[in-house]
Symmetry: C2
Subunit: 227 residues, 2 copies
DNA sequence: GCGGGTCGGATTGTTGGACAATCTCCGCGC
DNA sequence: GCGCGGAGATTGTCCAACAATCCGACCCGC
């Protein structure tokens, strides 16, 4: 059972060492994702490989793999011989996002309600309470709301107890954040909290159909703003 | 409007030219996928980069990207510093596959039924008729049944009229084929045809819940065989 | 023997550099 | 104007090398 003593020792001795830093691709992906979600890289901006190499000090191959990864996450679009661009959340993309999101969340809700005798899992109640608390603060930073909101829906998906669905849902997280960011000028924190409190009650009363309504509301709100 | 004359000309003059052949990655992925689905590469087999380079005459980077792509398709598993293996359809993997599959197909069915006034789209009827015809032949090759079966469920997903869901579903196609292949010793062609004929009728009678039953039946059948 | 650590071969992760293929833009000639 | 080309920029692929890591065989004190 102690075959890993040496390895553990090394990790202890050098906590910020190459042992945990190695994945260059992971590092670059994380950096680009942050720059996109922070708005530093605007939707439509070109993602030129050479720029990435210079900005993040990595090999071009690494940058290329990172771009493919971002494409998988829905944060970039890659066209053959034409390079990559930061994804824009236009009406079409929004629709597609919600189509998949609805499929995954409704199935999760169905599984959760079936397992808990029609009740919403405590985990989800706690996540909504969290969101409620964040939104109740005076002029909370929207970033905190984005996080808390993500927590609610992730808790719901986790409560469905399907690793595979959760994994598929996690791949939507980047796009989902773009959506919540787009919601900022349209919903006040109070509205955000209110919507999710109502969702819980409706879920136990009407089942997954309530979640469908919840999702449609959000989508429609942003779609009208996108024109 | 005619700025592309030259390009179009070139495409017309060389229909099977490098213009459509270039993607080395695509070529390697297709070759590996075929070898896996044909059983030449057995589940659990290691996919060593050097072997791929030699067998398919490509650069190691190309092989690496191909492996990541196969991982996305669920046909290979990639572990950091440990290489890739051909995916095996064990009980856990089967469950995960059907969790996502259920989510995507049920939402597709819901959308289809809502748009067609509770009726199953003609496209799906045709696909089931196809499957029926293939299964009615005397000792049909299972490969043909795999194709026809895939046609049915793809038609159903397409009838949901969500490109994004169809795209997500397409990513399951590799694993799905492994599933249907595993079904070979368990279901006769007649059983296969019968199950899908009943599905259509039940869909129009009971809605998406019928599809859930259909999927559970298939999953349980293979799961019992997997032990 | 035997559980433990050590060492070396095998494999993957990353980098640099090179060249071909392709796209995009701009000026040229009609 | 309009389409044709050429130049520059960018991507796609390949080759070669080294570092990081993993795996299995070996060794060693008990």
């Amino acid at each position: 059972m102690l075959r890993r003593t040496l390895r553990q020792y090394r990790q202890v001795m050098s906590p910020s060492s190459p042992a945990e830093a190695p994945a260059a691709v992971t590092r670059v992906v994380a950096a680009l994702r942050a720059r996109i979600l922070d708005g530093e890289l605007a939707p439509g901006d070109r993602l030129v490989e050479r720029m990435i190499v210079e900005d993040h000090d990595c090999a071009r191959h690494t940058a290329r793999v990172a771009l493919r990864t971002l494409q998988e996450e829905g944060l970039a679009t890659v066209e053959r011989n034409r390079g990559a661009h930061v994804a824009a959340l236009d009406a079409q993309r929004l629709r597609g996002l919600f189509e998949v999101r609805t499929a995954l969340e409704l199935e999760s809700a169905h599984r959760m309600l079936e397992r808990h005798d029609g009740r919403v899992a405590d985990e989800v109640h706690r996540a909504v309470a969290d969101l409620d608390r964040v939104c109740a603060r005076s002029s909370p930073p929207w970033r905190a709301i984005v996080e808390a909101h993500e927590g609610v829906h992730e808790a719901l998906v986790r409560a469905g107890e399907s690793e595979r669905i959760a994994e598929a849902y996690a791949r939507l997280s980047g796009e989902l954040r773009l959506f919540v960011i787009a919601l900022r000028p349209l919903w006040t924190p109070a509205t955000m909290a209110e919507h999710h409190r109502r969702l819980l009650a409706a879920l136990e009363r009407e089942g997954p159909a309530a979640l469908r309504r919840h999702l449609v509301e959000g989508e429609e709100t942003v779609r009208r703003a996108l024109g």
